[in-house]
Symmetry: C3
Subunit: 208 residues, 3 copies
């Protein structure tokens, strides 16, 4: 019960942070001059695009973000704050955002895998849908900004950390752990992995 509330709080914090970050990205786009429609649109795509893509792929009813109106409200609010805010480089809020993002990355990956399992899909598709949920929003924002997804280029290991978080969750579930514990393990994996990747500036190399 407490765990559910905590997961829910973290989920909405992740959506808000995603929208806020998406709005900031959109405002400082190098080539396009987005107006407030573009900033809010890209903020909502950043925040909700991963979960919506997952739900469209699962085909198990309308996306959660359209059924539970809190998602739209939280994303809109996060986007509006990002539209109006100025965030100086190295500000404490910027660091807080990185922490929320790190926690949300793991949670989104686990939540995506959970919904895939609940819709009757198997291990490997559930893993893929966990990654999609976690990195899909940012990827769609990039495509709707006229570029390839950044996670395909350098990514600071976003996709790999999301994969690890979903993997730990799925293995823990299959090993018989209860869902709260499995979720917590996945979440901890995602958070730790992301913070370590940031701290030690882990990067992937270009292929080919």
């Amino acid at each position: 019960m407490l765990a559910t509330s905590l997961f829910s709080l973290l989920d909405f914090s992740g959506v808000a942070a995603g929208a806020f970050g998406g709005a900031l990205e959109a405002k400082r786009h190098p080539t396009y001059k987005f107006d407030f429609v573009g900033v809010l649109g890209l903020a909502m795509i950043s925040a909700l695009g991963g979960g919506v893509a997952r739900d469209i792929l699962i085909q198990h009813g309308p996306p959660l973000a359209l059924l539970d109106v809190r998602y739209l409200l939280v994303a809109l609010t996060g986007g509006l704050v990002g539209l109006l805010a100025k965030l100086p480089a190295g500000s404490p809020l910027g660091k807080l955002l990185l922490v929320v993002d790190a926690a949300a990355l793991g949670l989104f990956a686990v939540a995506g895998a959970t919904r895939a399992l609940d819709a009757g899909l198997f291990f490997l598709p559930a893993l893929l849908l966990g990654i999609t949920t976690a990195v899909g929003g940012g990827s769609l924002r990039d495509v709707f900004s006229g570029r390839a997804p950044r996670i395909f280029e350098r990514g600071e290991l976003h996709a790999i950390v999301a994969l690890l978080a979903a993997l730990v969750f799925l293995v823990a579930q299959q090993a018989g752990l209860n869902r709260t514990l499995a979720t917590s393990l996945g979440l901890a994996t995602g958070f730790t992995g992301r913070i370590l990747a940031l701290r030690f500036r882990w990067r992937t190399k270009a292929a080919g």
Copy 2:
């Protein structure tokens, strides 16, 4: 009955105009040299993409554009005419197109909100899906032309006018007006808003 026929006529006119305009856009693309496949493909995405995106998001059965074959036929015809036509700047047909587009913008927004309500969604998601229906086709055409949606940049208030049309419709419905009247009010709002925005060259400013 008469109103339904009128709405339907306007709907298909909007689809034809969208396809025609999409084909012209594709032919004069600044960097890509599209062949007839590209011109027709982008014409169909322009004309039908908004409704298809809405129906995929609602997950309430296959998109209308695949169930009612008239949509494909009208879009194909509009695209073919656009492929073959030459439209000199300032021609009377160009002005007619703007008027049809203005009427279709409001109708598409209202139709999108209507389908969302019929699928059991609430006010705010219905509003968002109304906007998606109205501006989704043009946005997807832009993304499939390798750029960010133009409505994110300057938009000549397309998204805001679509929002107002869907909003007036939804409020009128909730106030107890019957659907034909509510639809007409939404449509009138969209048409007037779009024409005023064109007439007075209303523009949004870049954010940030």
Copy 3:
């Protein structure tokens, strides 16, 4: 029975070839430096994107690629081989790939039309979904690489060959031929058309 096994073998060969080709494309992208996440991601989009787009449009349950885990495994394997392989220009493997691709183009077009018919859609939407299945993966890969679909530009007649293959299949079905025969005719049309287009360097011209 034998025919079904043959079609299935060809289907998976097409998925593997699509993933392999997608990975090679991603590695030698002119502007982006994709890492292994990007190469594998674009490989999977190339291989499975067309079928997934079709299944999302049909809205007849989750995409085949998520239900039958062999699709993910084959696409991942093809992508991994493409990630690690070097393919010198004019190598025999390159020629084999072209042949597999030519066979897969027709099969994907026919398979897409088949699934559309089975979902209760009519001739014209089934035709469109056949084309979507055949050329959708490459198109989505292009969009997720920040550009317009190449089949919109020059295409070496990909879309037209896919259209012909689906058309021959659909007409044969309507003429009362059994499905195996109709499928074989569509497949042969696609294969022959693609090989002829390559052999004689048939190209479309820019429109407008």
